[in-house]
Symmetry: C2
């Protein structure tokens, strides 16, 4: 029997969060954090609504997951995020010692890979899961935004 | 007449915040954000109390300053922080487009200089203001912590 709790399964949940951001006029990025196949945090980008550059999906998800676990280290947790983390989020993930990061689309310009942000030695990162869906949503957002202005 | 609103003046305020962190058993790092010689945000590290790796002094100060200004960009603002920002905080400062960062002590191991975190082209950074005071406070914290355990 196929394992329903695949990376694609959880990335779809992160994409649902990204769609919520889209509907609020936020750059559509979503994230979930999972432990033992259970989602313990869901978040989407809220930088516009909160007027706060720190309100990326990943940052809120890290805070929510730590709150749920009652501890600041996210061992045995996996973050699913629709867009490759930026320096800030990768820096936060470094401190969290999270076990795994799974991202969707690459951010060639301001992502942590291009900018060589240091990850924790305990963290592994894989990318490209539902990348097209994540990047199509971002493209659609910027096209609609441009047409409105 | 000497300008009372020097970098040293505001760094002393950041050090007072660091001392508050110390008293709470937090790694003693403090920050203030200043615009037109006026302090609009004060914060200190609260990662232990909040169980949250994102609760660095700088992150809280950015959120508070944005809240005060009603906008997410910190143009014409200066951050004073007792310790050189880490990747996460420097990454957040990148997004904020803050005009100036003034830090106290260097963080040779996990600071943004060593780890080459990208700052915004609009941002200038200077260091070494009351560096000894900031680093003595950190050293005292880790000695006391070691003696307690």
């Amino acid at each position: 029997m196929e394992n329903v709790f695949s990376d694609t399964y959880f990335m779809k949940k992160a994409l649902q969060e990204a769609e919520m951001a889209f509907e609020k006029g936020e750059i559509p990025v979503g994230a979930v954090i999972v432990i033992d196949n259970r989602i313990i945090a869901r978040a989407h980008n809220l930088t516009e609504l909160l007027n706060d550059v720190t309100a990326h999906a990943e940052m809120q998800a890290i805070t929510a997951a730590s709150n749920f676990l009652g501890g600041k280290y996210l061992q045995n947790c996996t973050l699913y995020v629709t867009l490759e983390p930026c320096q800030m989020c990768a820096g936060a993930l470094y401190w969290s010692q999270i076990s795994k990061i799974v991202y969707g689309a690459r951010d060639e310009e301001r992502g942590c890979i291009q900018l060589k942000t240091k990850l924790h030695p305990k963290t592994i990162m894989v990318g490209g899961i539902l990348a097209d869906e994540a990047s199509q949503l971002l493209k659609r957002f910027f096209i609609e935004k441009r047409n409105l202005n």
